[in-house]
Amino acid sequence: MAAGASARDYSFAAEYDGPPLPYSLPRAIPLDLSRIPLAALSSSPPASPSASSSPLPVVRPLTPSSLCSAIHAHAHPAPRSAAPAPAAGGAVVDSPTSVIENHHAAAHHSAELPSSPSDDEGAGGGPEALPLKPRHHQPAVTFAETSGSLLQSSDDEDEYEEEEDEDADAGEARPRAAAGQSSGSLSPAHWRGGRTRGCYRCGKGGGFWGRDKESCLACGARYCVGCVLRAMGSMPEGRKCLECIGRPVAESRRGALGRGSRVLRRLLSAAEVELVMRSERECAANQLRAEDVYVNGTKLSPEELVVLQGCPCPPSRLRPGFYWYDKVSGFWGKEGHKPHCIITANLNVGGSLDQKASNGNTGILINGREITKSELQMLKLAGVQCAGKPHFWVNADGTYQEEGQKTVKGKIWDKPIVKLLSPVLSLPTPNKAANQSGEDAVNIVNRVIPDYLEQRTTQKLLLVGSGASTIIKQAKFLYKSGKPFSVDEREDLKLIIQSNIYNYLGILLEGRERFEEESLADRRKISPSDPSSSGCCESGVCDEVTEYSLIPRLKAFSDWILKAMALGNLEDIFPAASREYAPLVEELWKDPAIQATYRRRSELPFLPPTANYFLDKAVDISRAEYELSDMDILYADGITSSDGYQLIRINSRGLHENCKWLQMFDDVRLVIFCVAASDYDEYYEDANGTIVNKMVESRQLFESIVLHPTFEQMDFLLLLTKSDLLEQKINDSPLTSCDWFDDFTPLISRNLLSSSSKSTRSSTGATLPQMAAHYMATKFKRLFQLLTDRKLYVSYVNTLDQESVRLAIHYGREIVKWEEEKPVFGASETVYSEEPSSFTH
């Protein structure tokens, strides 16, 4: 049947071997309803096809209207049946402006075929053409029959199998993959190409061997120039018809991925074609599916596939099927066959190697695999003693030893004859890059994540709160091996640090003014009769005026800084001017007045704790040629830049309002809320000038985020950061200084009773910070429980300690894993760190 059809097709095609027609031919549609075998089905009028189109693939080649309505899934009750006649004749194609009208036109045209003969075929065609039509289209009708019935069955199955495919993937994949293995390619169930040369949409244009057609990568349906755009739409996954979007490409067409076509180039601009091809190559649906690839009898996970494809020496032309892989030596081959190539060794993919993997019968084992005859020949050529069926261990570098023996007996690849003869026996020789160990390979993979995979496995962890910026920076160090910060980023950070220095200085100068006034006032109070300033006091309170006063030149500079701060354009002025003012800054910093102020820094609430670190190095930093150290980066407080931090500030201002941009993060998996444990006695001035305790502010922010509709069902991880600072200050400044923690009574804390029986607070004091942190965590947990009735995860972290950050992030990922209970979070170290890095810019 098929043969007959194709023969007829050929004759049919031969009659049409003229120049390719850029327009569709309405009259080519055979509308002899009586000849269609499925008369009952096709008798439904094509003008109202919405109901009949889907169960009726048989009509497809006949009536474009059915298809156009199927594609547009829209019933046109043909209100304009009279209208299109004049225009429709010639302009059916290629006027994308009015596609809808054209659909109508095409539809009605074909439906009313007898009444509106087309003049497409030229003026002379008229009367002669008419009798020709039936004859010409006789074959076409039969082809419609065959392909129609074929289509029907395959289409029905198609729908069916698609669903089954998803459900019973595990059961089904093996036989299918087996089929793929034998044939070398895997044709999807919905493949429908190769049957006909006509356009699948308009049924027209036999063309010459399908020339001037574009075919769908997934199902093989071919469309003519006029129909391609309508059938394939915006081609988000390359050349696939609309129904096939999301389906895997046919293996036989994999080679065509990303190869441009003449048809598209005719229709679209070069840039558009380029983008279509790019998405074709890169989109996730077109990639090799990991579940189709078996290595050593085990289905690969997506991550393993990436490792495999991303290694320095990947197997060439990987296709679905069964493979064996010798992890020790890197041999790679199809199951039941001799080695095909040597890939990077030590990749952690697939199961363990089977003795019968390459179906050898020589009795000689290499790394536990019985080798094939040709391999044995090769070994003999290489001068390896093979008598007595020895068992060998072969390493990736070609050294081999006998099982159970320590001595390395030699290198297989040392003899030039081996390399010479390998191609003769069609055995692989190692690639130069193959000798890298798998460890390195994994690292490489971690650095370069393909676009498509990134989108599939990204798990977003939202990092919110104070200290978040430091964690992000740490994460960059941890997971972005190589260069964690680009030159630009370093430059930015440098600017931030430099302008921060001016900020800190400004705060100090403000403090200095205050202290000067205070001490002046004090002095007047204490000794109103003594205006002269001769003696110098010992204690800070009754200081001389001079201790806080500056020499006039520095005073001018300080006034200027303060003025700039008041105007709020400090950041704009100073980084640019840092070169000029570096000496002044140095002088200012070394001035005893500033140093005296700095000693009283605990009285300056706005001076961030990290200021110490930078102020100590102020002189270095303010120089233009200053180069950051990694520690500087970690200490850099993202006051001005880091969005992770700053955005939250915005949010805390519009506290209980609906914070719009949080909606963007509705797909995050976990919200990591950072609270600086040292915040409890720190204050900040809000927009209205009221002083707010930072811990209380954090709590409010926490509440508003937890209650935000976007995060309704989200998991929360509370990170208590800056525990080092907490340790430093907890003894000086009691935790109860924050209103929220006023019931902190460490002596009756259960923590103390249970965990620190040996150490009392008075004797060591070491557990006090722990107790405080524990107490804060409990406070937050209770609050969370109250708000959501769920459990809050808590972890403690010192953000300056890389290991502690790593553990905290690891914990966060564990939480996601628990919730997921699916192993999708595997190779995601970098995926994770990609995420926060986007915050910091």
Binding site: V99, L268, A271, L275, G654, E657, N658, W661, M664, S838
Partner: protein, 380 residues
């Protein structure tokens, strides 16, 4: 110290008097506003626009984003659309062929808005990076196919929620931001020309969500904000808002000038759209949907657009509806969300092509759809 307390007292008194005056103004407006557009047109015997469900059809689906679509904009001349999505890409589409002409990977994926320059040669976008990035579409992509940023406009202290080029001026751009200000930029120099709001007392008191520039007088623009007000600004006078429009009870998410330039529409979190008269400050009409039977929360209006005549108001809602309002009679004539082929997710942005022939909708279902009129137009 005493003076501070005194000042505070004075300030409180002044605030109270401002509030009372504002209340009086509102009452006065209410008495003056004896009718609204709908009642008046009904009394004039205007018949509503009638729409068949098939009259507006989805003729293109633009697929290609892998994240929620947040914003879109048409070119004034060519039929190009730029869309911004949470996958961190800007895509420029040819609306006719539905193909992508450019795909621009962004440095910061949290993009919220995008805009086409009047000449169609460059696009701007902004988002949580608090900056507005300009891309020249003619510039060469690098090896990885990434488009270089031609300019970054920095200076906002909060996220950039919306941006629009001043019509006919390639070099002028207005952005609105979460830092409560709007800024007029000179794109060529990257400098701020003027800042609207912020320190000035007549500025917005919460995040600004949207701006719309009057197309008939490009010196005027309105901004809608989370402080529930809309403010009218004159580009030449940055120091104060020309007028403040009260009325909404929720964040104003979207503002759009009426085609005639004398009115503008708003869409808000309170679930209503409103039409304001720019000059008198009156609220002409409220377009509010009936609360559904289950008494759920009203879906919020995410974006609005006017038809070229102004007779139709398209409003996208957070539940995926897209109502077509008859602006005269305040009736819903069609819901694009109920049509075949409609979006699956929230409709986040709407845009009317400059010739008015097509409407583009962007949604959280990652797709954009182009809708066009297919029925017979009855002029009412």
């Amino acid at each position: 110290m005493a003076s501070v307390a005194e000042l505070k007292e004075k300030h409180a008194a002044a605030t109270a008097s401002v509030n009372s005056l504002r209340e009086r103004l509102r009452q006065r407006r209410e008495t003056l506003l004896d009718t609204d557009v709908a009642r008046y047109s009904k009394s004039q015997g205007r018949a509503p626009v009638s729409f068949n469900p098939t009259d507006l059809v989805c003729c293109r689906t633009l697929q290609g984003h892998s994240g929620k679509v947040y914003s879109l904009d048409w070119t004034p001349e060519k039929n190009w659309i730029v869309s911004a999505s949470q996958d961190g890409r800007l895509i420029v589409w040819n609306a006719l062929t539905s193909q992508k002409t450019h795909a621009i990977k962004l440095h910061c994926p949290w993009v919220m808005t995008c805009a086409f320059a009047p000449n169609g040669q460059s696009v701007a976008c902004g988002g949580l990076d608090s900056a507005c990035s300009i891309f020249n579409l003619n510039s060469q992509a690098d090896r990885d196919g990434n488009m270089p940023v031609s300019r970054i406009l920095t200076g906002h202290k909060g996220y950039v929620s919306s941006c629009q080029y001043v019509p006919d001026q390639e070099t002028r751009l207005i952005t609105s931001s979460g830092d409560q200000t709007c800024v007029l930029w000179d794109v060529t120099t990257g400098q701020r020309i003027s800042i609207f709001g912020g320190e000035f007392p007549s500025g917005h008191t919460a995040d600004v969500q949207s701006v719309s520039i009057n197309s008939s007088n490009t010196n005027m623009f309105v901004s809608g904000s989370c402080d529930t007000t809309v403010r009218l600004w004159d580009i030449r006078i940055a120091s104060r808002a020309v007028r403040t429009y009260h009325g909404h009870e929720g964040d104003v998410n979207s503002v759009k000038f009426f085609p005639d330039g004398h009115r503008f529409g708003t869409g808000s979190d309170d679930g209503t759209c409103r039409l304001f008269d720019m000059r008198t400050g009156h609220q002409l009409q409220v377009y509010s949907r009936e609360p559904d039977r289950n008494d759920n929360e009203l879906p919020t209006v995410t974006s609005i657009a006017f038809s070229i005549s102004g007779r139709l108001l398209f409003a996208g809602y957070s539940n995926g509806d897209c109502y077509v309002w008859d602006t005269l009679l305040a009736e819903v004539v069609l819901n694009l969300g109920n049509l075949q082929n409609s979006h699956d997710g929230r409709i986040s942005c709407l845009g009317m092509s400059s010739d008015g022939s097509a409407l583009c909708t962007g949604s959280w279902d990652k797709n954009l759809k182009i809708w066009a009129f297919s029925g017979q137009r009855k002029i009412v």
